[in-house]
């Protein structure tokens, strides 16, 4: 990659902040100077500017609606036992995962158990999500390559 390309890459990364007025003065001037002389970056700025200008805005009153919901008594994981679904009660009654018979076949795994119920039935299943999506930074290069290939496939699919 030559020096000009590197500048373009750097500028293109900054275009969203430039279009949104989020850059500091020095950075803004640097981007402006480059854009004035680069047709490709000008073209991309035009697109980024259009996307920013037409960004979604929350409907009026959504914040009040959310606040109402937040301050209502929350649906929490501390659901009383009588609040368990009929399916869950049935599962417990059948002794799923609670067999004391050592010689009995292995009880269904957590995943098998979960598939018996509608999605969203168990709040506990959301706990991992609440802790944030798993970071993939620790993935191997091989795994990342697979991901990139998947991304390329997605792009191709999007063109179809």
């Amino acid at each position: 990659m030559n020096q000009v390309d590197e500048v373009c890459v750097s500028v293109r990364e900054a275009l969203p902040d430039f279009a949104a007025g989020r850059l500091e003065k020095a950075d803004r001037e640097e981007v402006s100077t480059h854009i004035a002389a680069c047709a490709m970056c000008q073209e991309e700025l035009q697109l980024v500017g259009l996307l920013f200008a037409a960004r979604a805005t929350a409907p009026r009153g959504l914040d009040d609606r959310v606040l109402d919901a937040v301050t209502r008594k929350p649906r929490t994981a501390h659901r009383p036992w009588w609040g368990l679904s009929a399916a869950a009660v049935a599962a417990i009654a059948l002794g799923v995962g609670m067999s004391s018979d050592v010689g009995a076949p292995t009880a269904p795994s957590g995943n098998d158990f979960a598939t018996e119920f509608e999605e969203g039935e168990f709040w506990v299943s959301d706990d991992g999500m609440l802790a944030g999506a798993p970071s993939l930074d620790a993935l191997s290069d091989e795994a990342l390559m697979e991901l990139l290939e998947e991304l390329a496939a997605e792009t191709t699919g999007g063109a179809a």
């Binding site: 980024v48 929350a58 959310v66 999605e119 944030g132 999506a133 970071s135 390329a152």
Partner: protein, 185 residues
Amino acid sequence: MNDERRLEEEQSDAALVEQARSGNPAAQGSLVRRYHGAAYGVALSVTRDEDTAQDVVQDAFVKAFAALDRFRGDASFKTWLLTITANEARGALRRHKRRRETVLDDAKPVAAAGMDPAEAAIVAGEAARARGMLSDLPEKQRLSVSLRIDEGLSFKEIGAVIGSSEGAARVNYFHGIRRLRELMG
């Protein structure tokens, strides 16, 4: 703006989160006002349905506040909330199994100062067209583009929200932009 509201808005996220943890409604209100728009953008980007997106935002905040004790502060509150919102939106999509197209007519009018009405209308039309095309991109691409442009998130933050690495988020963004440039002609 009254002094109380100004004070709330000047507080850092960390301070507001700390107060919200103890159930302070003013702190919760500040966080909702500060981030409901960003959450809505993410929810709409994933679901492409305005009504569903509003439901998602509501549920995401309820879940986030219920789980605030588990927020470790590794990421910013905003990134954490948007991650919850994105996951909640994906869950809503799976539950509904159907999608309605976003009403593009609702795109925010675009007009630069000094632009004549005819020119402004053309630009607004182009902006709506760009947004419409964005909504047709694969989910990770459109989320990467939306979060980078609308919210100014870094690629590392975007990666956390979409469940990818920083590098993958960057690739998604540039794939998306390249595709949009092709589509826009």
